[in-house]
Subunit: 201 residues, 4 copies
Amino acid sequence: MKYKTGEETKMKIIDSAFQLLADKGYDAMSIEDIMKGAGKTKGSFYVHFKTKEELLYEVIESRLDRDFGHIVEEIFKELSVDTCNVQIVLKRLMHLVHTGTGGADRELWTATYYQMVVLSKKIPFVREWMLKQYHAWVDFMSKILTRGQDLGQIRTDIDVRVMVNMLISLLEGYELRSMVDLDVEVYEQIKLIELFSTNQP
Amino acid sequence: MKYKTGEETKMKIIDSAFQLLADKGYDAMSIEDIMKGAGKTKGSFYVHFKTKEELLYEVIESRLDRDFGHIVEEIFKELSVDTCNVQIVLKRLMHLVHTGTGGADRELWTATYYQMVVLSKKIPFVREWMLKQYHAWVDFMSKILTRGQDLGQIRTDIDVRVMVNMLISLLEGYELRSMVDLDVEVYEQIKLIELFSTNQP
Amino acid sequence: MKYKTGEETKMKIIDSAFQLLADKGYDAMSIEDIMKGAGKTKGSFYVHFKTKEELLYEVIESRLDRDFGHIVEEIFKELSVDTCNVQIVLKRLMHLVHTGTGGADRELWTATYYQMVVLSKKIPFVREWMLKQYHAWVDFMSKILTRGQDLGQIRTDIDVRVMVNMLISLLEGYELRSMVDLDVEVYEQIKLIELFSTNQP
Amino acid sequence: MKYKTGEETKMKIIDSAFQLLADKGYDAMSIEDIMKGAGKTKGSFYVHFKTKEELLYEVIESRLDRDFGHIVEEIFKELSVDTCNVQIVLKRLMHLVHTGTGGADRELWTATYYQMVVLSKKIPFVREWMLKQYHAWVDFMSKILTRGQDLGQIRTDIDVRVMVNMLISLLEGYELRSMVDLDVEVYEQIKLIELFSTNQP
DNA sequence: CATGAATGAGCTTTCATTCAT
DNA sequence: TATGAATGAAAGCTCATTCAT
């Protein structure tokens, strides 16, 4: 079939762009590359997107946002149980981040993420999205830690905001490093969770 | 003056490139941009460098390597004193990283650093430099923490390697975040140092 | 009309390149020149060819190879007639070479040919094409002379291979010289054919 | 010694240029290449020559002209002997052309020669030199053949001018071919000399 | 005489984007 | 919707030439 529904092709383009964004970066991926990956030709790109930047915007919206949403949802479900162990929930969260939700493309996700950090200097809406994202993470993890304190499982002598920032930075720091150094052991971070817990081993 | 010594112009080019690398990234900075920043014309770039990549190499060598060397030197001096307080030394280290040595261009340094992470996927020698750099940091900090354990100031119930990795990742995570979110409070990380110390407040 | 079929434009580019190759040589003809000759802008060159070398390849394929094919075909037709006079066939062959088939662009053909000799030192496939071409000529002319011997019209006391090489070299030598000296009388070569014949005048 | 006499350096430059001209052609050889071959740096080229074309001019004058002069001189000496055998003199001439005088750089000579044919379309004085050279060859060989006719050793039923042109073209044709096809047997040409002789074997 | 820094024009090539079909 | 020819700007790089030292 030569003529597909717009949505179907659009999705293929976004998939292809996501892949290439991670692999080569925004500047280095050409429209032609993207469309080759989508099984269509260069010209028809502009049927679906006005510009290359608009595509980036939609990649962010439909791929990156979605993944975060899934994680939040899943974790909150676990957290709502009365007998939950916050330490275990946090470990599970880390696991989710490191493996991705669908599981398929975690490596892509990480690479893309750092491409975005770099892009945030050049493209304003990327920066805005990143900020929004950070704040969402801070909110999200604050809720988890506060719930932990309420349950008496998390220390109260350190400010929640500080603990949250530390956890997020540690998470990102390990991710960043794993991009370069494949031998790094990301699960070491669990130690920090333990240090924040009241019942230390 | 139209004619300067090679070394002088070369330095100007490296300065200009360092600035632009941080601002726009490797792909987005053009030779013409760089030379405009250096006050010379495009053609004369190739009097000093064979290719754009060679320039990148020299930027890394002369700018990034040097800064790390300075920090190491300074910290080791403090550490060799018999009555040194490792917790304070570590805090001072963090301060140095966050402000830079010359102090002038810390912000550039951080931005450049993340450009390099992204570049490491594309340019092999960048990846190699990053790895070398990571290992140098791990070695360096391991020595500090081990000295701290010897002096009875650092916990011995957590593996030194794990503590080191956590500290480095935290450092990088905060740096990364500060690129996007200027409000982030990098000195919060000190808390982790305290958690690693024996005499907790 | 701004938009033509690919094949049409491609042919125009090849024509223009063929002309310029003869006039200025491979290095001296720029893509911009070529496209100006084809009535298009520089950028669209790469819609039709991947590189400048690929264009050269196609010029050779579509222009030079074809002309030789035409000559061979025509001569063999004449040769198959039982009452053919090989001496006359050879003279006709020389005429064809010197005037070209289409007749239009013999001068271009010769000039291009010598450009190719020079290029053969730099571009491997050109050298390979030249060698192939030489061998094809030797084969072709060997057949003619052998037929002449069979018909008792060509001397048998000189090796066919030697006669062939002499004829080809003479042909090329005259062509070469006519590039510089327009007064040279190429038809003098007929004398050699007579010297190879049994019925000398 | 950093400072040499002008002539010495000039000669080195001409030598280097001659080599490169044969190897890569006029356009493809850069001033920097030439001067590297001469053991000096780019800038000092212009102490000795006003432009690249002037260098070409001097290469022609001092290298190509000279070699021809040597051959003429040597052959005339042999020819002046009363008992000379013109057929043998001609064979010796061919040998000289194919091996060069100094013997060292015949291959360079041939390659350069064809570079010149190509250049003659672009640079007027090259064309003029080539024409002058052709005429000198025609004159030179006419004298040889006429002497042969006087001695009763060369046929008189073919016009001297025609025989001369054929010999020269054959010579050039074989040279040209030997540039591409190293297996070609240049001494086959001797056959033509025999065909021009009265005492055929 | 020699050096090498500097220049500017020109090269091949890439690419986001437009548009007739 | 899809195609691919066309565009023009910009990229990295080369090179003949100039000139202060």
